[in-house]
Symmetry: C3
Subunit: 123 residues, 3 copies
């Protein structure tokens, strides 16, 4: 689980947009992005609860077709979703004091991911 | 749980946009926005099911760090997500007959929240 | 469950946008859109897991008010969400090799749905 907030804030500044939207998108089927208070407790709780609700199992249809052991990873990533859009005001992300953008890889092995950032707005 | 639809529709009209997108964003880590048929039954069912899937508990890592009793609130809000984008056509939100924008505060105490509305489009 | 990706890609090309965002929105309260590896296993797993987490039941408040048997459908659709935004680069959707846009109708009977596609960007 990674905190993407500082990198996105830099891209917003570089874009010159003072008002608008920043769209964050995970390229790939087993990764997700979202918003969270990024602290060690929740970094442990979120994947743990996802594994409780969508547990690793050999019984998924995905597993019976592909035998790659990551059916639950796909389901977790689809439920969280690959995209988050955050407002921009005064060239800054509009966030609460502790609110941050996270990336979570749900796959069972490490993956190298591309995150696409799109800024729409006016300078 | 609050219905934000009428206020957003007024902001769309005031913006002058006839086609485009309306982005709705909850500022803060334990609130969420989404779409629902906003009727009393579901207003009771949605928080009840969230409490069943992410139950209040002292066992969360978040709780062990912060002792504020709202670990489940953070997880529920992250799963629902803080943002919703709705299309605009003819200066109106493109919704089904019963589809509405809701705000749900998942925290264990009342919170005063800022909702950021961003309109992108053409007049 | 339907794969909307090819139709959206055609709309992106017809729009003339080479960079920007494609927003996909399900009009109606019991349908959802999202991203998934669209293969037969997961097409079976996702609705099955949604029915496990939000099971059909006569006990929902929605059911007691409306007696239409689809309280779980509303909750499933709200959790998945009605909207997905995908980046556009070089007039193409920015997706992973297997990543696709799906529509899932969660209602207990077939529904005819309108999907609103909005393209924002520059040519």
């Amino acid at each position: 689980m990674h905190d993407l907030t500082d990198e996105i804030a830099e891209i917003v500044i570089a874009s010159g947009a003072r008002a608008g939207l920043a769209h964050v998108f995970n390229v790939g089927s087993t990764g997700a992005v979202g918003a969270i208070e990024f602290e060690p407790g929740l970094q442990q709780d979120l994947p743990a609860m996802l594994d409780k609700l969508f547990p690793p199992s050999r019984d998924y249809g995905h597993e019976q077709a592909w035998h790659d052991g990551n059916g639950h990873s796909h389901l977790q990533a689809t439920m969280l979703g690959p995209a988050l859009t955050v407002p921009i005001k005064d060239a800054k992300l509009v966030f609460g004091a502790w609110q941050r953008v996270f990336h979570l890889e749900c796959d069972i092995k490490p993956r190298r991911r591309t995150i696409a950032i799109t800024i729409m707005g006016e300078s």
